[in-house]
Amino acid sequence: MTTARRLMLAVAAVAVGLSACGERDQVTVYKQGQYQGKPDTKPWENDPGASLYTSSKWNKGDKTSWESAVRTRNLAQNEYTRVE
């Protein structure tokens, strides 16, 4: 047997022997299902005047203006900017 063949056999034996040492995930990976319920409407698709007592103003269907209105409302939670 030639040296090259012996070397190849040795490499193959090592590869086969070490293949059992591989690491596999032991944790179950949950695959999330697809939502099966009814569709929901987006908040910005509502008319701002649809409810009483709301001070927020946005253009119906315009997500950016709704976000801006909510952001303004959100910043009101920072009392430091309200008092300074």
Partner: protein
Amino acid sequence: MARMKFLCDAERCIECNGCVTACKNENEVPWGVNRRRVVTINDGVVGAEKSISVACMHCSDAPCMAVCPVDCFYRTEEGVVLHDKDLCIGCGYCFYACPFGAPQFPQAGAFGLRGKMDKCTFCAGGPEKDLSKEEFAKYGSNRLAQGKLPACAEMCSTKALLGGDGDVIADIYRQRVFKRGKGSEVWGWGTAYGKPDQPKAAPAGAKS
């Protein structure tokens, strides 16, 4: 935008349960169901007592969604985790999966019949026509559709509970922590609200 989140400042929460009351009132939640509650540790121990208001945290990778056998959960574009009560079978898997105990089950009858799951909706209603009677009856108020934020956060008297766009409330909280200027090892009014930059000089003859 914007992922809607809650953030509760344990330094400020005074366990007044205003958030719990606001939630109950806004959504007309039935008796026995608590969408939000205040948890206190080291109750009565001076300096070590901390309270925090807990509800559904609207997880980015929500375990309730993962375990639901009928796939009744969905996440809105604003990052709010909601569910369809028409589809819910009341099995309770979501309750076991949730690390915050957010899912609640109304009980009725002599044998404690377990109803369909109810939880915090971030005041975003559910999969019914927005601002309709059906939506209110099943899911409670839809304040997001009115350009408002959750009643619990907006009602909080000490502004311990912040709710809204995660980036915005993180900025508010960061500014607050900088104002305090100290770590969590100290407590009290100065820690929670900061101290004035220039303390007023004590009047002559006053005790220090």
